[in-house]
């Protein structure tokens, strides 16, 4: 039985797919403090203009430059697996397929955007890219990408992570990046913290401040900042996942996919697999497209569509997205990638249209699914990926009950070999399920009820 469906390099997609071109209703733009849309010029000190152009583009297909393809060939196309052994364990008539993004050098889908971002920066004349990282998944992906391009890479890694989580730091250093413990003496933001707290263990917020400051204050103008999720151009780069999957499924005679599933934090790995199928759905196909989130942090499944302010002073831009509001404090969940209080705007608009239908899964169910997957398919998934697997198993069991041979496709966004602490807590019985009470959500929403509401652009077709 065929369990891996490879794709040749020459068969790899030559274009990224931009959902913004096909959304049947326009997205509400991000707004500045004055209520006017954020402009490309505002982002110019931070990102190179060629990436900003992608960020605001409405072109349906955007060429992947040949040199970028050459770089992606290091690990792409990624294999599409038929989850034969999981199917057997479940006794399901469903045919389950997954894209294995854990085969990238950094172990996740993150290099799919890190590499093009580094390339576009280099084309723009940028010689150094700066970013921040916690445990190091994004930092290591960018370090890898910069190594391929011969660009300097500086990563501000939160001090406590730098000390306690050395392996991704070593990955970054191996790829030639300068990994700096944050707070550092290299920036005003870092020095201010150290002046007051010389032993500060740092935080992600401080590291972001240091990275952005380092990028925008470098006098030659050849340094920029890079971000690994949420933004449109990041999602765009990730669509190579779904585009490859379509070619691979054709090879094994699958003419139709019934269900597409991905875990969704900021949304980039979900979007990467799903957006090409959203396009099919817009053009008439019947597909269930499901972003999965933790039950205990229901950004997509229980919140209405609102404009969400960034700060109390309301001086920062407003982004239209599904959100529970900024004072929403989600209960514990052990999936590092699923921590955004708002999902990417493109995904929000797809939810509004009914093109994608979010689901929420409890964390114990997710870990149980991850363990079953590891025992059957052999791969230990990242904790956030386990949300997708739990949703797949739910669909497969439903197919069994209904006697339906549906085709389920999901994204195995990364392996969990660097994140085994969550498994340890699961096996030792330290994890609990918790569902946010409706009244807590209502109270949070009450606090943001007076914020401006976007026009709900919806065609009503789905």
């Amino acid at each position: 039985m065929k369990v891996k469906i490879p794709l040749l390099e020459k068969e790899m997609p030559r274009k990224w797919y931009n959902l913004a071109a096909d959304l049947p209703s326009p997205m509400n733009p991000p707004l500045g403090p004055d209520g006017k849309p954020v402009t490309p010029e505002m982002l110019a000190p931070v990102f190179p203009m060629n990436l900003i152009e992608q960020e605001v583009s409405r072109e349906r297909w955007i060429d992947i430059p040949e040199p970028v393809l050459d770089l992606l060939y290091r690990w792409r196309p990624t294999p599409l697996h038929r989850a034969t052994y999981l199917e057997q364990a479940l006794g399901t008539p469903a045919r389950i397929y997954y894209k294995h993004e854990g085969v990238s050098p950094a172990g996740s889908h993150k290099p799919n955007t890190a590499v093009p971002q580094a390339w576009y920066n280099k084309q723009f004349g940028i010689k150094r890219i700066v970013t921040e990282t916690g445990a190091g998944q994004w930092g290591s992906a960018l370090a890898f990408a910069c190594a391929l391009l011969g660009i300097e890479c500086k990563v501000f890694m939160v001090r406590i992570s730098y000390d306690q989580k050395p392996y991704r730091k070593l990955m970054m250093q191996t790829w030639g990046a300068e990994c700096v413990a944050s707070p550092s003496t290299l920036t005003n933001a870092g020095r201010a913290i150290l002046a007051e707290h010389p032993d500060s263990p740092g935080s992600l917020g401080i590291a972001i401040s240091e990275a952005v400051e380092a990028a925008v204050t470098e006098h030659s103008g050849t340094t920029r900042y890079a971000l690994g999720s949420v933004l449109n151009h990041v999602l765009l780069h990730q669509t190579i996942i779904g585009l490859e999957a379509k070619e691979q499924l054709k090879k094994v005679g699958e003419k139709k996919v019934d269900v597409v599933i991905g875990c969704a934090g900021g949304g980039s790995n979900f979007a990467g697999l799903a957006f090409p199928y959203v396009n099919d759905k817009i053009h008439g196909d019947r597909i269930d497209i499901i972003p999965v989130e933790p039950f205990s942090c229901p950004t997509m499944t229980k919140a209405p569509f609102v404009y969400d302010h960034g700060d109390t002073a309301r001086m920062t831009p407003l982004l239209p997205m599904h959100s529970l509001g900024h004072d929403f404090v989600p209960p514990p969940i052990h999936a590092g990638g699923l921590r955004y209080h708002g999902i990417a705007p493109l995904i929000s608009q797809a939810i509004v249209e009914g093109l994608v239908t979010p689901q929420a899964m409890h964390q114990l169910e997710c870990y149980a699914a991850a363990v079953l997957f590891a025992k059957t398919e052999g791969i230990i998934p990242a904790p956030e990926t386990s949300h997708a697997i739990a949703a797949v198993i739910k669909q497969a069991k439903q197919a069994k009950e209904e006697g339906k041979q549906k085709v389920i496709l999901f994204n195995l966004s990364g392996h969990g070999l660097m994140d085994l602490g969550g498994y340890d807590r699961y096996f030792s019985g330290k994890l609990e399920d918790y569902e946010l009470p409706r009244e807590e959500i209502d109270a949070s929403l009450e606090r943001i009820k007076d914020l401006p509401k976007p026009s709900v652009n919806r065609t009503g077709r789905w």
Partner: protein, 87 residues
């Protein structure tokens, strides 16, 4: 005593690895991390702890809204360059 739970270990989902309660209490700034309640409520009497050691104003400040990622970036740009983000 504020330090009574400092040795307890939990998982920081902001960073992606385990940390001690001391980090959540005092590691990220003068006030506890805004996630302290949801990360610890299952294991510690966190509301009692906060009410016992912080004023209502401080508690409000702990849980005050924070900028999202893009907003944070633009705010830092504004702070660093001294320019407004308005066109």
């Amino acid at each position: 005593m504020k330090e009574q739970y400092d040795a307890a270990e939990g998982y920081c989902r902001m960073l992606g690895h385990p940390v001690n309660f001391a980090y959540c209490r005092a590691g990220t700034g003068p006030l506890p991390c805004r996630k302290i309640a949801d990360c610890w409520f299952e294991r510690l009497p966190i509301e009692d702890f906060l009410r016992g050691h912080y004023t209502p104003q401080e508690i409000e400040a702990i849980f005050a809204p924070r900028p999202g990622r893009l907003e944070s970036i633009l705010q830092v740009v504004r702070n660093v360059t001294g320019t407004r983000n308005d066109p």
